[in-house]
Each structure stands twice: as C-alpha cells, then as structure tokens.
Symmetry: C2
Subunit: 208 residues, 2 copies
C-alpha cells in the first residue's frame, strides 16, 4: 500500500515518519507547494535530513504519499457520504441540494490539499493517474446514488448529466479557492453559492 516509503521497522522511526508527514501537510495547507522544501519540512518536523531520506527515496516520494493519502480519504468520504441508504425517504431534490452543500463545505472549510498539487499534474504520470482514479470513484458513487432516482431526472442522458454536474460543481469550487477571495471583485458567500449552484444543477438534471 505505502509503496514509496521505506517502511519503518521500529516504533521510533514510525513516529519520525508521522512527524514528517504532519509537518509536510501543514506546510502544504498553509503555504502551498512552493514552500514545501526538504530543509523546511525537516526544520518544521524537528527531524533531520538524514531521517527524511531514510524514509523517502526522494522528495517526490513524499509528495506521492501525501497525494495518495488525500485521494484515499476523498474516495472514502464520497463512498460513505453518497451511500443510497442515507437518502431513503428523501426527495431527489434534497439529494442534489445535500450534494451541493456538502461540496461547498468540503472545498471551503480549509483549502483542500488537493489544490496544492495542481502544479504537479501536468508533469507526473502518477499524480494524473491518482487524480483520475479519485474523480472516477467520486463520479461512480454519485452516479450510483442518483441513478436510483433515474425516473425523477428529465435530462435525456442522466448519466452524462450527472458526470457533467460533478465536473461543473468541483471546477467552480476549485476556482473559487484559487482566486482567494477575489473572483468578480467580491467573494460570494457560501449560502448564496449553495443556493445558486443548487438551482443550476437541479434545473440541468431536470429534477421534478
């Protein structure tokens, strides 16, 4: 599973690995990918360069591991959150509204680590593959949930429409994060964004 690290064999080094990962994640979250240098991680985690390279083959291994963790967590969240059993008795409209609100909160609460990796996507095969895998997994879960309400969707091709909806919602939220609080002059409030995105997606899917 954790293929790119040299697995720790003693509790001591397990702890060091944890400290390194925590520090790296913190730096990534607070200051972005550019600030994530090995000297910085080492300093922040109160370890040493040698310890770092005893755990990771190179800097890329650290990035891969962080990305893998973030992807796995995201997939797990989607699987749990989109479980059809959770929505029994609720209207399709409510499902869509819940999905939108959930997405807004997820992207808004703290900038996802995911966003920090975007710079690496063009270059590296591993990152692109992991990102695709994650997107597909989320898509499949949302799809599975919404297709149980297929008869409530008036869009001629519900499957395509669901994929498109996911794409549009995540893109809008990602962009909003990137722009920091400045898109069209003002940062739109969460409530308003949820309302408008909800309206848009409900209309697009043709929810009765």
């Amino acid at each position: 599973m954790l293929r790119w690290v040299n697995a720790p064999l003693q509790a001591r080094s397990e702890k060091t690995l944890g400290k390194i990962l925590d520090a790296a994640e913190k730096i990534l979250l607070e200051e972005g990918l550019d600030a994530l240098t090995v000297p910085r991680v080492v300093k922040e985690s109160k370890t040493s360069t040698g310890s770092f390279y005893a755990r990771f083959d190179d800097k890329m291994s650290l990035l891969s591991m962080l990305h893998e963790r973030a992807c796995a967590q995201t997939i797990a969240t989607a699987e749990a959150g989109f479980d059809p059993a959770l929505f029994e008795g609720q209207s399709t409209r409510e499902i869509v509204e819940t999905f939108v609100a959930f997405a807004v909160k997820l992207f808004g609460a703290r900038r996802s680590i995911m966003n920090s990796f975007s710079a690496a996507f063009g270059t590296d095969k591993g990152f692109a593959d992991r990102r695709t895998k994650t997107a597909v997994a989320i898509g499949q879960n949302l799809m599975k949930l919404l297709l149980t309400r297929r008869k409530d969707l008036r869009h001629p091709d519900p499957q395509r429409a669901i994929a498109m909806s996911l794409r549009v919602v995540t893109a809008t939220l990602e962009q909003r994060n990137g722009l920091q609080r400045n898109a069209l002059g003002v940062r739109v409030a969460d409530d308003l964004l949820i309302e408008e995105l909800g309206r848009m997606i409900l209309g697009y899917l043709g929810v009765k």
Copy 2:
C-alpha cells in the same frame, strides 16, 4: 502603460525586447511557468542576460508585463465580442449558445497563457488585481449584453445569475485545461461540452 520595463530608446533594443517577450510567451505556453527561467528565455530568444536586465528590473517585471498583455487582450476580445450590436435580430438563446461556444473555443484552441499564471496568484498583489480587473471587465460586458434581454430571463435575479454563469463556465473550462485530457477518465469532446454547458446555462438563466 508599460510601466515596469525600461523603455527602449533605439529600434535595436525595441527588437530585442520583442524577441524576449516572444520567447517567454512561447515557453510559457508550451512548458509552463516552471520552465520560464531567465537563462532559458535568454537562450531561446538569442539575446543575453545583460540585455534582459537592461529591459526588465527583474524576472517579476517580465511576468507582470506578459500578464498585463494577456489581460488587456482578453478584455479587448470580450468588449468586441459581446457588443450588443452584433446580436441584433438574434434570439437570447442564440446569444447564450454563442457565448458558450466562444468560451470553449477560446480556452480550448491553445491553453491560454492565463492558466500558466495561476501559481503566482496567491502570492502577488499585482497579479491578483489584474486578474480581478479582467474578470470584472468580462463580467460587465457579458452583463451589458444579456441585460438588454432582461425580459427573456426568468431567473429571479438576472444580474446575479449572469455573474454566476460566467463563473461556472470559465471554471469548468479552466479545470478541463488543467486536467490535460483526463478528467473523468475521458476528455469530453468540444461539441458535447458546448451542448451540455449551453443546456445548463440556458436552463439556469431561465431563457424562454
């Protein structure tokens, strides 16, 4: 206007400046911001480090100038393309469809230079300001055009809806560019994207 360059006084240096800008733009377009180093620009433009620093105070000045040019070009394009006079006699539906198709082509043809700058947005005030200014300008022009058809829009707050539509369309296309050809496993074809985005926005605005 070109505030951050030391203006060339002879035709000779004007030409050198042009070569530097062309090379920089090419590198940015083809290989992204990371590849844009001063040694690289100097080599590609067949000039020299000294020439570079005779024109630009520092590397940031080059980036600012490229960004300024791209923003100005984008604003000019929006002003020309969203001129209400161009759409006389056309239905509101056609306007929206034209807008979406135009946006897809614009982002798709060649990755906009704009996307290359996203990494610098968080850090630098100048970039953020310029980007905001550009977004506002595009928004105002689209707004001016669509508000001439206000009575055709059923959305309770057309102004807000237009701003939201612009945001969603650009975000979706930006994300598509970033993901390179890999979003939900497959890159959606232009035609299909135009169709679905068009359907979504038409429905959202409530075009009759």
